[in-house]
């Protein structure tokens, strides 16, 4: 099974293997939330409206998750979910991204390509070799949002991340998205970590828009 960070990376990459812009430009919060979700689904942490608690310090075997788990376990200062999202997002999330990409390459889902543009600059891209996994992720999201069935908790968490990143419009047509909106609003609250990621990014987006509105032209 892919981690949340790996699944979201598949959706962040376009068909050429370049990174799509995320809502509010806040990809680090998406990745931090993905790591916390993986720890929660591995029964290493639990959350409620006021606390994020470490349940089990036994390593998961995934270096990125274990680094975050050790950080949470060693912290003398209790924090809520939002506090930990902000803490992890403020660290070097490039490592989370690189590990997710490396895992996807190792599984034969992506490949790494270095390309030159303007004859001088180099850019690394990650085109898809095997598109089945990405299609399966999109299909799962689509199935949950366009039906009334009780969703799998893992799908709920993933939908919260995809919604927070602003990628639902890449999965659905405008008409489908309109039809799915009440369901999105229902599910958005059902995963606490995902809900907090969405709230943080919405605040960033509002701050950016306010700054743009008041800045002199």
């Amino acid at each position: 099974m892919l981690t949340f960070a790996e699944e979201i990376m598949l959706l962040i990459l376009d068909d050429d293997g370049s990174f799509l812009p995320t809502r509010g430009g806040a990809v680090e919060y998406i990745l931090a939330g993905a790591v916390l979700m993986d720890l929660a689904f591995a029964n290493r942490i639990d959350t409620d409206l006021e606390h994020l608690t470490c349940l089990d310090t036994v390593p998961t075997g995934n270096p990125i998750l274990d680094q975050a788990l050790a950080h949470i376990a060693d912290s003398s200062q209790p924090k809520d979910t939002r506090g930990w999202i902000e803490t992890l997002a403020g660290q070097d999330t490039a490592e989370i991204r690189q590990q997710a990409l490396a895992s996807l390459i190792e599984r034969g889902i992506l490949e790494s390509q270095d390309k030159k543009f303007l004859w001088v600059f180099r850019a690394r891209r990650y085109p898809t070799i095997d598109g089945r996994v990405e299609r399966e992720v999109r299909l799962r999201i689509s199935d949950v949002l366009l039906s009334d069935d009780i969703p799998d908790p893992r799908d709920v968490a993933m939908i919260c991340l995809v919604d927070a990143a602003g990628f639902l419009r890449d999965i659905f047509t405008a008409g489908e998205l309109e039809r799915a909106t009440p369901r999105v609003e229902q599910l958005r609250k059902m995963d606490l970590i995902g809900h907090e990621v969405g709230s943080v990014i919405a605040e960033i987006e509002r701050s950016v828009m306010m700054a743009m509105a008041i800045s002199p032209h």
Partner: protein
């Protein structure tokens, strides 16, 4: 957390006593799975003695409801204490899962 089970009119009533948190939720998950696997997909979770529920507990209830639905039945909750009910309302779970204020009304709906 203590889990007790009784069957009334072919509805399996699972009574929860204590905290449903990250350390106890796996027990509830296993209990619900065992009930569904033996063919009883109509479950009533009596929460009158449940005094805490965290995210892991909420996920286990949602997964349990999905299992029951797939097994042709459903999972219904009743008698939540005010604090737990508030958590489930804020997190939107009561819009997804069937909830009744009394055990009698939940049983009537299940029967």
């Amino acid at each position: 957390m203590k889990i007790e089970e009784q069957t009334v009119d072919s509805v399996v009533i699972v009574s929860l006593d204590g905290r449903v948190d990250g350390s106890t939720a796996p027990d509830l998950e296993k209990h619900i799975s065992d009930v569904v696997e033996r063919g009883d997909a109509r479950i009533l979770l009596d929460c009158s003695k449940m005094d805490y529920i965290g995210s892991t507990g909420l996920r286990v209830m949602l997964a349990g409801a999905k299992k029951c639905q797939q097994g042709g039945g459903n999972l219904v909750l009743c008698t939540l204490r005010a604090t737990c009910k508030s958590v489930m309302e804020v997190s939107g779970f009561l819009t997804m899962l069937d909830y009744y204020d009394t055990r009698e009304s939940a049983l009537a709906a299940q029967s």
